[in-house]
């Protein structure tokens, strides 16, 4: 049973550039959430996608955008990169947008983004 996968594993970008991160959810899951984890902190919620729509959003600027595809996979795009965007970006999947099963999110290994 394939778990949550993310690509790439590591990425180095320059300030002002744009980046796209990818996520494939756990088999059978249809909801994808993205989190940013800075060093020494817990993951912070960016946004969540269900049925190809953004359902919830955390306190992140519009430079952060996303997309969900019909096969439930998802992308996170960050424009005009800042040094402060350097972090581990985690994708999590769950089953359904509401209901008990939606609470338990399964995480991928993350993409380490470094902005220089």
């Amino acid at each position: 049973d394939a778990g949550v996968t993310q690509s790439p594993t590591h990425l180095i970008k320059t300030r002002g550039q744009q980046v796209t991160l990818r996520c494939s959810p756990k088999s059978g899951h249809d909801t994808v959430s993205w989190y940013q984890q800075a060093l020494g902190q817990g993951p912070q919620f960016i946004f969540q996608y269900y049925e190809e729509e953004e359902r919830q959003r955390g306190n992140f600027p519009d430079r952060f955008s996303g997309h969900q595809f019909p096969n439930y996979s998802s992308e996170l795009n960050v424009n005009a990169l800042l040094l402060g965007d350097s972090a581990l970006y985690l994708c999590a999947s769950s089953l359904g947008f509401r209901g008990q099963s939606s609470y338990e999110q399964y995480f991928g290994p993350g993409t380490r983004l470094t902005v220089t």
């Binding site: 959430s33 947008f97 609470y103 338990e104």
Partner: protein
């Protein structure tokens, strides 16, 4: 505004003894709580959860206790094993009608010494 707090950055425990990890929250609307474990270079792994209508949930060596009046929850690991050494995150979720985004604490590093 840190709504979920883990005030102990690290904890060291002898193998076979009990590990107790603590978590405090400020938002009384949270209605579901989870603990995740994270090894280096891996994503957080779901460990155990508890609904706000319960005060205890047990799964093998892991037990989570919830004290709603104190807005406090704890994770007990008995007996602790060296393989339990990891970063433990406490997370909380708002009711379903507000969606199910997770709010995480900063984590506690647990070291189990053999």
């Amino acid at each position: 505004d840190q709504q979920v707090k883990q005030n102990s950055p690290s904890l060291s425990v002898q193998e076979g003894r009990i590990s107790i990890l603590n978590c405090d929250y400020t938002n009384s609307m949270f209605d579901y709580f989870l603990w995740y474990k994270k090894y280096p270079a891996e994503g957080p792994t779901f460990l155990i959860s508890i609904s706000s209508i319960k005060d205890k949930n047990e799964d093998g060596r892991f037990t989570v206790f919830l004290n709603k009046s104190a807005k406090h929850l704890s994770l007990h690991i008995v007996p602790s094993q060296p393989g339990d050494s990891a970063v433990y995150f406490c997370a909380a979720s708002l009711p379903m009608e507000y969606g199910n985004k997770l709010v995480f604490g900063a984590g506690t590093i647990l070291r189990v010494k053999s």
